[in-house]
């Protein structure tokens, strides 16, 4: 097996690129739908574009139902995409199975969320890893080669000594150990891209870090591109180089992780960061003092929209405290925020012309008038200078 | 909980209304029926559909037998004494032509239909023409060509000599009223809901389980029977019928009762009786005469010698179902007694193991230990076949198997599927099988079924009417033809003697038991039943004789 310790290719090279990736799931037909022309679909993912770079971690942040896991499966080509393109090293690929699929997954491997479910309870660790090695031709020629490769894989994910784990069944392992086995299985293909779908969310807090550190270590040592999908925006800040925020199947903001989390541009990202638990917020004398600071800004009771008939325009507008008339009609394009290079958001607030024509919050009639003016324009200095910069 | 209460209330309510509305209940008089006026007849035939068509074998009237209490034949024939002359009934006289292709009957003039109309020769001619017109009604298969009435005489013509079928013509055809039946559009499917006949009874009520007949007010051509009401009950199965007989609920029936002495007679030694007279139809083991080594009459005769008819009679048929056939000629007694040829008179079958062995040795067989070897040195084996569900036959086969092993023939028993068995037997695809013969007024039917060369078909082609064993015997065939077509008694006797000789020599079928036409009955309420001392008729309630029996009954103790 050839788990390359040093990368031959330059760091930052784009390995896998999604261009306008779209996935609509057909809704089960109902009797009355027989007569309607347009079939009902779930707009799970719409027009998602981003690139995964060698040796970098890209985080995809969103709540449940935002389509982030669908993106992972589209990238792994487990689901066929409805529209858009997927470029592996610049070459458009579309595989449906068989040999092409295998050679694709050799380079792009998926790690699933639940380590309690992603390993078949009837098979041992050895079986899982051996299959992965064999399928991708990394098992070597002899039994010894295989043993070596297995030991190497387990060592790589810090399950040592390997003999202790090889013949164990999944139920005999702890959650963290299982997730490590799942990672080892993915590594058995010697991939260039790891798609990690919430790899730690099912694990205990105390073990999460170990798994994330392992991924980070792999990224550095093997120079792998990692897509880190999470609902925990704080972990994206910590772990990812770049963060993309999704809402209701669309990307709403992206850029350097630190910028996206600290200087969130999109109202949704702000809602997200404001809602995340933050011990620093405590005042010491009692609970909940700052707890509803952000919550009041959500006009939608925290409920995401239906993806079968998503809202027109910006999908966040029904909940957005700053919604403008344009938000209800036109889909906001990617707009550069301008504070840092590469920071962008899909929000009309960042289009000076729109803001000029329409007061932010004007399309949010039930918005509490006491709510402070749109932070994007007033509250924060960095965005206040935004208009000038553009 | 609530629903349960509701249900109970609803049920109670329904019961109450039902009971309240029972003023003119058809069951009101059920319990107080006078014992001395009612006769309970039973058959184990299951629920019936209302159908009183006397011509249809499938009708309730035929199945339970009450058709003969409503409709009457021209003459009565006693199957127990087949050679006895016919007893005048609706016809006072029947004159056959010498070749038996036509019969001239004289209709009695005092018979009336139950609707009051007079029974005439027209009615009789109409009936025979009806049967001729609708082959589906001609369940006896007599080739009628024409029936014409003139005055009180009717001449019925047939296409072929019917000497052997006299009873089919005169005894088996229920006479129906022309004035009603000519209006029936399709007599083959008409259920005749309101039967009008010339018999002493009329239909009172019908239910799937029982039919009640009540005696006519008058107008019957002879004395009205003492039985004022006849109840025909169709029990769901043999055991239900047996139970009903045993506890006296049923007074007359025809049903197979295993171990009948214990199960039925012992329940009331004094009154419970079984009388099962033999008729001229037998059961026996057909051997396939084309299969080696059973093409050898010597072997067949030897087999006959070891088969223990008595054992079969007592064990398999529980001593009553198929009366023992004693005579070597296969003719049952007493029905066939008068036909037995002088040379076989008094010659009864006996198990003769030594004789059989001697016969076999003489014919070139060798008994090698427990195995019989044929002339070529091959062990003789035989496969006995009968439908799986026919327990009496199966039991008989078991006994036969046992008997044959005494002369070293290894028998296997094949419990066949009924359809397959029928087909295979007709096509000659069997080695040995238990089966019945046709029955009739003369032994002709027995021998025809066994040895008729006119029915000889190659193996594989069905011969439904007989000669399943494919016996190819010119002498027998000629004798059969001669018997049926003879115009004088001497010729018939000669032919009959020949037939018996051929049968005994060839032994194409090993006779075991006779068909019976008997029944189980109780003398508790009614006496006057036929029995050995007075065998005036058949004992089966579904035969035309049943009417004669009913007319003989008298209240017990009177």
């Amino acid at each position: 097996m050839t788990l390359s310790e040093s990368a031959a290719a330059p760091v930052d090279e784009v390995v896998l690129e999604a261009v306008g990736l779209t996935k609509h799931f057909p809704v089960r037909k109902r009797l009355r739908d027989l007569f309607s022309r347009t079939p009902a679909v779930v707009h799970a993912v719409d027009d998602v574009s981003f690139a995964l770079h060698r040796g970098r971690v890209t985080a995809l942040v969103g709540e449940s139902g935002s389509g982030k896991s669908t993106v992972a499966r589209l990238l792994a080509q487990i689901y066929p995409r409805t529209a858009g393109d997927l470029r592996l090293h610049g070459t458009s690929t579309r595989v449906r199975g068989g040999r092409p699929f295998r050679s694709y997954v050799r380079r792009v491997q998926l790690i699933l969320q639940d380590p309690f479910a992603s390993l078949n309870p009837v098979h041992t660790v050895r079986y899982h890893l051996t299959r992965s090695l064999r399928i991708h031709g990394n098992a070597g020629r002899s039994a010894e080669d295989l043993e070596q490769a297995l030991a190497k894989l387990l060592t790589r994910v810090s399950l040592t000594p390997p003999e202790r784990y090889l013949d164990a069944f999944p139920h005999e392992l702890s959650g963290g150990q299982r997730q490590r086995v799942a990672i080892a299985r993915a590594l058995g293909a010697d991939p260039e891209v790891l798609l990690a779908d919430e790899p730690v969310s099912m694990l205990d807090v105390s073990i999460r870090l170990g798994v994330l550190n392992l991924l980070q270590d792999l990224k550095e040592r093997l120079n792998i591109a990692i897509l880190y999908i999470t609902h925990d925006i704080a972990s994206a800040r910590y772990f990812a180089d770049e963060t993309i925020v999704m809402y209701a199947g669309r990307m709403v903001e992206g850029g350097d992780s630190e910028i996206v989390t600290q200087n969130s541009a999109h109202p949704y990202t702000r809602l997200l960061t404001a809602s995340a638990p933050d011990p620093e917020r405590i005042t010491g004398d009692g609970a909940g003092a700052g707890i509803d600071e952000a919550a009041g800004k959500d006009r939608g009771q925290g409920e995401p929209p239906s993806l079968i008939s998503p809202p027109a325009g910006c999908r966040f507008h029904p909940r957005c405290p700053h919604a403008m008339r344009r938000c209800t009609a036109d889909l906001p394009p990617r707009l550069t925020v301008g504070d840092r290079p590469g920071h962008w958001t899909a929000c009309w607030l960042y289009d000076p012309a729109t803001v000029a024509a329409d007061a932010p919050g004007s399309a949010a009639p039930d918005a509490d008038p006491a709510v402070p003016p749109p932070p994007a324009l007033v509250k924060r200095e960095d965005t206040a200078t935004l208009g000038e910069a553009r | 909980m609530r629903t349960r209460q509701l249900l109970a209330v609803a049920l109670a309510g329904a019961m109450a209304t039902a009971l309240a509305a029972c003023g003119d209940s058809p069951n009101a008089n059920k319990k107080n029926g006078q014992a001395a006026t009612v006769l309970n007849v039973g058959m184990p035939n299951g629920p019936q559909a209302e159908n009183n068509n006397p011509f249809l074998t499938t009708s309730a009237a035929a199945s339970l037998g009450y058709r003969w209490q409503i409709f009457e034949p021209l003459m009565m024939w006693n199957p127990v004494k087949p050679a006895d002359p016919f007893k005048p009934w609706l016809a006072t006289k029947a004159e056959w032509s010498a070749d038996y292709t036509s019969v001239k009957v004289t209709i009695r003039d005092n018979a009336t239909w139950s609707d009051g109309q007079k029974l005439t020769a027209e009615d009789v001619a109409f009936t025979y023409n009806l049967v001729k017109k609708y082959p589906a009604l001609n369940d006896q298969g007599v080739p009628y060509t024409d029936a014409t009435a003139s005055g009180n005489e009717v001449t019925i013509k047939m296409a072929s000599p019917q000497f052997v079928n006299q009873q089919k013509v005169l005894w088996r055809v229920p006479i129906v009223p022309k004035h009603l039946w000519e209006k029936i559009s399709d007599p083959t499917t008409d259920a005749v809901k309101q039967p009008v006949g010339s018999g002493p009874y009329t239909l009172k009520s019908f239910t799937p389980a029982s039919t009640t007949l009540t005696v006519r007010d008058g107008g019957y051509w002879q004395d009205l029977p003492k039985v004022k009401e006849l109840r025909f009950t169709s029990y769901t199965d043999n055991s239900a019928q047996t139970t009903a007989l045993a506890n006296g609920e049923s007074e007359w029936s025809f049903v197979f009762i295993p171990n009948y002495q214990t199960v039925f007679v012992a329940k009331d030694q004094e009154h419970h009786k079984v009388w099962a007279p033999a008729i001229l139809g037998i059961h026996g083991l057909y051997l396939n005469t084309t299969k080696k080594p059973f093409d050898d009459p010597a072997l067949r005769r030897a087999m006959n010698m070891v088969i223990d008819r008595e054992d079969i009679f007592t064990t398999a048929e529980a001593g009553y179902f198929h009366p023992l056939v004693k005579s070597v000629t296969g003719l049952p007694s007493p029905a066939g007694d008068s036909f037995i040829a002088p040379e076989f008179k008094g010659q009864d079958h006996k198990v003769d193991l030594e004789g059989a062995k001697a016969l076999l040795t003489g014919a070139g067989y060798k008994l090698d230990g427990n195995t019989l070897k044929d002339k070529t040195g091959k062990a003789v084996t035989i496969k006995l076949t009968d439908p799986a569900g026919w327990s009496d036959y199966q039991t008989s086969l078991e006994i036969v198997k046992d008997n044959l092993s005494k002369i070293g023939i290894a028998a296997t028993i094949d419990k066949a599927n009924q359809d397959a068995w029928f087909r295979n037997v007709e096509q000659g695809n069997f080695e040995a099988t238990f089966r019945w013969t046709e029955g009739g007024a003369t032994p002709y039917d027995i021998y025809r079924t066994i040895m008729d060369g006119r029915q000889l078909k190659p193996i594989g082609t069905a011969s439904p009417a007989g000669n399943f064993g494919r016996l190819n015997n010119q002498q027998a065939t000629e004798a059969l033809t001669a018997y049926a077509n003879a115009t004088d008694e001497a010729a018939r006797t000669a032919a009959m003697n020949t037939l018996q000789k051929v049968f005994v020599d060839q032994m194409p079928m090993i006779p075991v038991g006779a068909d019976n036409i008997g029944g189980a009955y109780s003398t508790k309420n009614w006496t006057g039943w036929p029995d050995d001392s007075n065998p005036y008729g058949a004992m089966q309630p579904t035969q035309p004789n049943a009417l004669d029996v009913v007319l003989h009954l008298k209240p017990a103790g009177s």
């Binding site: 997954v105 479910a117 009837v122 098979h123 041992t124 069944f169 005999e172 | 419990k415």
Partner: protein
């Protein structure tokens, strides 16, 4: 049916989250056979084993030829004839011994056939989904709704010479639907399991996924379906024999009952003629049902019999294990308050 995971389940230890990898991997393999340790399953398997033994050696050890007549006609059980004799003096004990084989063979063939069919149809439908699923599901649902026994009776009655094998085939071909339905549902749920998706994402081929990822996880259901079909097949076969539709040329317990019924054994008071066969059937059915309970309890531990439900505490009280009122074992120290109804 899907059982939604209860949050309580998570806190019950031994569910793996806290387990250390075992030093002896052999222990793990035993887990698959652990259900044998289930008392019900064990009882069932032992009884079944005895039946299987009789099926194999029955015809050899039978003291008499089951067809052989003897002079002892309709005798009650005695030392010579343990279960008595028939109207022909046949030994009923021998008939039962010999009959075991036919019963077991039919059960086995029908069970295997139905199981194979149900796997083929159920798993295929569940895994493929779409039109194939719709079609196959509709087919199995049709078979499920149509009354099986009348159908089997009618089909068997029109077939001539219905041998054991044929009866088994007919039963097998008509009784796969239940298994297929259960398997389909389970496959459908397994197909969405992460490990199946993970296997696909690893690049496993479809047939391998079905064979090595899905089927092993269906073992319990397949086994339970198999046992269920065997029960049904045995009962059907015996029924067919009893009502005299299938060939009664070979002895099975239905055939014995058929003769008993045909000879009105009841009216003759020959209880020994039908009691042993019925008990043999009932015991076999019970054994198979017990095995199925064992499998059920193995699959779904909650169903296990409660074991000890009444506990005697140290101070002599008896408390009951019951949902909603966790028993308190230790005597409480005297509480600084009179125990009385808490006013709301």
């Amino acid at each position: 049916m899907t059982i939604s995971p209860s949050s309580i389940e998570q806190v019950i230890p031994g569910q793996g989250a806290m387990a250390q990898p075992s030093a002896a991997p052999g222990r793990a393999k035993r887990r698959r056979f652990r259900f044998i340790a289930n008392a019900k399953a064990a009882t069932g398997l032992v009884i079944l084993g005895v039946y299987c033994l009789f099926a194999v050696i029955g015809p050899w050890v039978a003291p008499h030829n089951p067809d052989a007549r003897s002079g002892d006609v309709l005798q009650p059980p005695s030392t010579a004839h343990w279960f008595g004799t028939t109207h022909l003096g046949q030994d009923i004990f021998s008939q039962i011994l010999v009959g075991a084989r036919s019963v077991m063979v039919v059960g086995l063939i029908a069970g295997v056939l139905a199981t194979i069919l149900s796997i083929l149809i159920g798993v295929t439908a569940g895994y493929l989904g779409g039109a194939a699923d719709e079609g196959l599901s509709a087919m199995s649902n049709v078979f499920l709704v149509i009354p099986a026994l009348p159908l089997i009776i009618i089909v068997t009655s029109i077939v001539e010479q219905a041998s054991d094998t044929l009866v088994a085939l007919i039963i097998g071909c008509t009784s796969w639907a239940w298994g297929a339905r259960v398997l389909r549902a389970q496959t459908l749920s397994l197909r969405r399991r992460d490990y199946v998706e993970a296997a696909r994402a690893t690049g496993e081929r479809t047939w391998r996924i079905i064979l090595f990822e899905i089927l092993p996880n269906l073992t319990a259901i397949i086994a339970s379906g198999f046992v269920g079909t065997v029960i049904f097949a045995v009962m059907s076969e015996i029924t067919l024999a009893f009502i005299g539709i299938s060939s009664v040329s070979s002895w099975n317990w239905g055939t014995i009952l058929f003769w008993a019924q045909g000879q009105q054994a009841l009216a003759q008071g020959a209880w020994w003629w039908f009691v042993p066969a019925g008990l043999a059937i009932a015991l076999l059915g019970t054994a198979l049902a017990l095995i199925n309970f064992g499998i059920d309890e193995f699959v779904s531990p909650r169903l296990r019999s409660a074991g000890k439900t009444r506990i005697r505490t140290a101070d002599g009280r008896t408390v009951r294990m019951r949902v909603g009122f966790t028993p308190v074992l230790a005597p409480s120290r005297p509480v600084p308050a009179p125990r009385e109804e808490v006013a709301p």
